[in-house]
Symmetry: C2
Subunit: 76 residues, 2 copies
């Protein structure tokens, strides 16, 4: 089975990477880009029957820095 974890910076946390992308898109002539946030996506190949709670624990312990990042887990 597979799980997909999205890790994004929380709202209010400055995102310089996203800001750089926004500027670059503007410089390339793409108008109307009001904001860009960049995050991580982690695809895990897990043993069948791994409960979602285990993936949540992985996020809490390793995959996300919960002080500044939020995460969401999706079993595929």
């Amino acid at each position: 089975m597979k799980a997909r974890v999205h890790v994004m910076l929380k709202n209010g946390v400055l995102d310089p990477q996203g800001e750089a992308v926004r500027h670059a898109l503007g410089a390339l002539g793409f108008d109307g880009v009001q904001g860009v946030r960049q995050g991580k996506v982690i695809e895990l190949d897990l043993a069948d029957g791994t409960p979602e709670a285990t993936v949540t624990e992985m996020c809490e312990k390793l995959l996300a820095n919960t002080v500044i990042e939020s995460y969401s887990v999706e079993l595929v």
Copy 2:
């Protein structure tokens, strides 16, 4: 409107970040993690009515390195 772009390394391209995460999960006692791939997710805040083709163009020109990365666009 919002668009979400996923950028992942293509299959066959070595992913040292993902490999590092896999090792770290094993070291933390999570068994059964067979593989990990790490990619980027980019959330774009766009002017209403921006066509998906424009977002695809952004991916081709800036967001993804199409030699080694694949991308998918999702309008939210």
